[in-house]
């Protein structure tokens, strides 16, 4: 039997604001517990929510980069449930009139390009964090995250493979990051994803029983969770076991999903409009202001790198995957005047080093001025490519000053011609056996002499020039 998996995603992204959505508390990753808390986000009575305008603007931007329609009027609703990390015992969210609707994101997979529909994007506040301390036998609550602004991006059930899911998440992350909407980092929880998954026989127009999987905090966990859950559904179908519509928690350590407690599967949240927050009117003028302030998006960048700068499509895609990398690339290309070389260095060395040192691409920091210096020096042949790599590595890990570094490590290829000839002549004189071998037809002997020269020069000197002089010296007199 052939099966088809059908998935829809709910992606939560923390908005990149300085303050919370309904109070003035700062938003900060990694602050000490309960430092970013005021009476409002701690759920005290008498406090009233006041909407952070920046949140609305970022949500509009999220809608624009995902091709959504922006609602002319948007309202907030309250979602009621009891949990100690929810200070007010209700969450302010949007049910009846979300800010964005009906968009799409184009993703590229091994099967080609596909459009994934966006059902809606809505604004909401985050909850705090509950920590259970088993040794003390207590639960501790941290309200720092209470009222941190989020957008929830709800896709249509358009996914048919984990590959599409991952491609979509990477694309969405990149769009949100480029637009300045969100930091969108799985490792810090500033982007989170729930997967709604069902399995049906191929060709069946009806959906199967759906389960929702939560608590995956990396792309690879999402991939594994999808594989696990798909398998579980297929097994159940094949063995004729009933599947229940439920929410399941992914346990990464056990590599399995588990049904959440019944309470957490409560179906009714008693939604109703928030009377303290007046409807927000979004004029077309406001939307255009947000649109005008949007920077260039990754698709457009990739296109421009290829068309205007002649960068290979694959490299252009790599360079436009993160705002910081794209910025480093564009600035160093401008400064050195050679975009192709800038691309080669960044893709060949930069990404390789990042991978080797496990630096996330988003955290890559390279001074474009230093890169441009390096690229120009190699072009001018004052720096060999080999020494260029050394310099690149030093800039990458220690942000060294390239000029000082070259001088200090004697990397300058512009060695004095007379001195070079003198050095090479002495090497030839000290190695009569190699000379004889070479002259006897063992051309490999030249490599030995070349190696000797390189060792003594410590990488300075133009390798082509050294080879040329050596050949000259070895020519039978």
């Amino acid at each position: 039997m052939a099966y088809e998996v059908v998935m829809g995603l709910e992606v939560h992204a923390e908005l990149a604001t300085n303050s919370k959505i309904f109070c003035a508390c700062p938003v900060g990753y990694g602050a000490e517990a309960n430092q970013n808390v005021c009476p409002a986000c701690a759920g005290m009575p008498g406090l009233l929510p006041v909407t952070n305008k920046k949140v609305v603007e970022l949500a509009i931007a999220a809608g624009l980069v995902t091709n959504c329609k922006i609602s002319p009027v948007t309202t907030f609703d309250k979602k009621n449930y009891y949990y100690p990390d929810l200070s007010n015992s209700y969450q302010i969210t949007q049910l009846y009139a979300p800010i964005c609707r009906d968009g799409y994101v184009e993703v590229r997979t091994s099967q080609g390009v596909k459009r994934i529909g966006i059902k809606q994007i809505h604004m909401e506040e985050d909850a705090g964090k509950l920590t259970h301390d088993d040794t003390l036998g207590v639960s501790l609550v941290d309200y720092n995250r209470c009222s941190v602004p989020l957008v929830e991006i709800v896709s249509k059930p358009d996914f048919r493979s984990a590959e599409e899911v991952i491609a979509y998440l990477e694309k969405l992350r990149s769009l949100l990051r480029f637009a300045g909407v969100a930091r969108a980092r799985f490792e810090e929880g500033s982007i989170r994803c729930d997967v709604n998954l069902s399995v049906r026989e191929k060709g069946d127009p009806n959906f199967g029983v759906r389960t929702e999987i939560k608590n995956m905090n990396s792309l690879s966990a999402i991939e594994r969770a999808i594989a696990y859950e798909t398998e579980r559904h297929i097994d159940a179908i094949e063995w004729g076991e009933p599947l229940i519509q439920e929410t399941r928690r992914w346990d990464d350590a056990k590599n399995a999903s588990f049904a959440m407690r019944e309470k957490e599967n409560a179906g009714d949240y008693f939604y109703f409009p928030d009377a303290d927050l007046a409807p927000i009117e979004i004029s077309s003028q406001w939307i255009e202001q947000v649109r005008a302030a949007l920077p260039e998006m990754p698709d457009r960048k990739q296109e421009r790198y290829v068309q205007e700068w002649g960068i290979r499509d694959k490299d252009a895609a790599l360079l436009s995957q993160s705002p910081s990398l794209a910025r480093i690339f564009e600035q160093s290309a401008d400064l050195c005047g050679n975009p192709k070389e800038a691309a080669n260095w960044l893709v060949g060395e930069g990404l390789a080093l990042a991978k080797k040192h496990a630096v996330p691409i988003d955290d890559l920091e390279l001074d474009p001025h230093k890169l441009a210096y390096l690229i120009r020096a190699v072009e001018d042949r004052t720096l060999t490519r080999v020494n260029g790599k050394k310099l690149f590595a030093a800039i990458f890990s220690d942000d060294v000053d390239p000029e000082a570094y070259v001088k200090e490590h004697n990397l300058d290829a512009a060695v004095d011609q007379g001195a070079l000839e003198k050095l090479l002549a002495s090497i030839v004189a000290e190695n009569p056996k190699s000379v004889a071998d070479y002259q006897g037809g063992k051309t490999k002997a030249l490599d030995f002499l070349f190696g000797q020269a390189m060792r003594q020069l410590k990488g300075a000197g133009d390798p082509g020039e050294i080879r040329r002089i050596l050949e000259e010296l070895l020519r039978p007199q």
């Binding site: 009476p39 701690a42 759920g43 005290m44 009575p45 008498g46 406090l47 009233l48 929510p49 006041v50 909407t51 309250k78 009621n80 009891y82 100690p84 200070s87 007010n88 015992s89 209700y90 639960s139 609550v141 179906g267 009714d268 008693f270 939604y271 109703f272 009377a275 303290d276 927050l277 007046a278």
Partner: protein, 456 residues
């Protein structure tokens, strides 16, 4: 002719703000009505000294140095603000209400807190601190703020007009209650019950003084998202009223008591040159039902933050998280609050949302249209405020009567309209007969001026 209030009397014979506060403190100390839950002598004396300094410097307004009380749900920084509930009996917030800040700035003296129905959800018998005795009949009940003014403990009080009960209580105690349009006075720092309806109101012996208190209390506050943009409010009580028409809503003629209220109200209107016209509406009879559904939904949500986790009452014994919630809320909240909370969950549940909550919003909308049509012809509307005299001791246990009388008070609450409550005469027992005048949103001055023209 303008009615005479307490404020001038209060000042008569004494020439120092400290003496006025001493008088109030003495009266509060001798209180037998249980109308106050807290008297803060230290704060009051410090404020009265500061007020005197201003008076001596000539920097005074008409209310500078006068003592007032605020209902217990209006929070004062670091002072216990319990909203009449065991849940918050020891709760001292780290911040205070905006309205208190404004009155502090205006040089008024906050004497203490007035008793109130539990969290505004309960009626006359529901306060954790016990019921308030009626100032004119020891066998009957009243509200803390109304009683404190009527008994002469203070000349002024602030109260939260949530479901209209403070209007009824004031009028039945023989004082006035001026409720401004929704969004006029900041609700910041006020324990919320019905967020979409409630508004801080002023209680005083006469309209002129209540309006003066509102003048000081009102104005835009960025901390309240529903606060109107207008920076300041003044009320012209001398504007021409004679010749205006008032709609007398016959929807509220249900028994001898409310008929008598209307009759007396009509004769007061006539005397002031206002033309009373009997009007029957289509939707007024549904206002209290819509208000009940909306109040239950919003109230249930607003009290859900009282969970025993962060502050307020926590049950001494529990075995797990669920018991912590259940025991704390079961013990910390009174019966009428629980009833409203259950009702709120009921009207918001998926299965009933359309039938009750959404229907209530539709009624509110229809009533809004009908009232605004009515206001085009009749800038004033007169209704009674109760089906009978103030409740006898114990009579409102469970909140049945205060629920009944919500029927009369509902429209201004539900639509956020300005209203004035006052007595229109006396019943056979000599107790005040309660009525209210209300008008279109934003017409606060005209409504207050009309009540003032009736001699209130």
């Amino acid at each position: 002719m303008a009615a005479k209030g307490f404020c001038d009397d209060w000042k008569a014979g004494e020439n120092a703000a400290m003496a006025w506060t001493e008088k109030a403190l003495a009266a509060a100390g001798a209180d037998t009505l249980n109308c106050l839950t807290l008297v803060d002598r230290q704060r009051a004396e410090a404020q009265s000294r500061e007020a005197q300094r201003r008076i001596d410097a000539g920097l005074t307004g008409p209310l500078t140095g006068l003592p007032y009380v605020a209902e217990d749900g209006i929070m004062v920084e670091h002072q216990i603000s319990s909203g009449g509930s065991r849940m918050l009996a020891n709760f001292a917030p780290p911040f205070g209400a905006e309205v208190i800040r404004r009155l502090d700035e205006a040089g008024l003296v906050l004497l203490g807190k007035a008793n109130m129905g539990e969290l505004k959800m309960g009626g006359e018998e529901s306060s954790y601190f016990g019921p308030v005795t009626h100032p004119l009949d020891a066998g009957r009940r009243s509200g803390g703020a109304a009683a404190a003014v009527a008994a002469g403990i203070v000349p002024l009080a602030l109260a939260v007009d949530s479901l209209g009960e403070v209007r009824r209580q004031a009028a039945q105690a023989g004082v006035v209650c001026c409720k401004p349009s929704y969004g006029t006075v900041s609700r910041f720092g006020v324990i919320a019950n019905v967020s979409s309806c409630e508004q801080i109101a002023a209680i005083a012996p006469v309209v002129a003084e209540a309006a003066e208190l509102l003048h000081l209390a009102a104005g835009h506050d960025p901390k309240d998202g529903a606060s109107l943009p207008q920076e300041a409010y003044t009320y012209d009580l001398s504007q021409e009223i004679a010749g205006k028409k008032a709609a007398v809503l016959v929807d509220y003629q249900t028994n001898d008591y409310d008929r008598r209220c209307l009759e007396q109200g009509v004769s007061l209107l006539r005397r002031a040159g206002i033309e009373p016209v009997e009007v029957k509406t289509r939707y007024a009879a549904y206002a209290h039902l819509a208000l009940t559904a909306i109040a239950a939904a919003e109230g249930c949500n607003n009290v859900s933050r009282f969970d025993g986790v962060k502050y307020g009452y926590r049950a001494p014994e529990y075995k797990n998280m669920e018991e912590l919630y259940c025991n704390s809320r079961s013990q910390g909240l009174g019966m009428e609050v629980k009833r409203d909370a259950v009702l709120g969950v009921y009207v918001l549940a998926k299965e009933q949302y359309q039938t009750y909550y959404y229907k209530a919003l539709q009624v509110r909308h229809l009533l809004w249209q009908e009232m605004n049509d009515l206001f085009r012809e009749y800038p004033l509307v007169l209704t009674p405020l109760a089906a009978g005299p103030p409740y006898a001791a114990g009579e409102d246990r469970g909140g049945r009567l205060s629920f009944r009388d919500r029927f009369y008070a509902a429209i201004p609450s539900l639509l956020g309209l300005p209203a004035v409550a006052f007595s229109v005469g006396r019943d056979q027992a000599g107790l005040p007969l309660p009525c209210q005048l209300f008008g279109a949103q934003g017409q606060d001055g005209a409504v207050f001026a009309a009540a003032a023209a009736l001699g209130k």
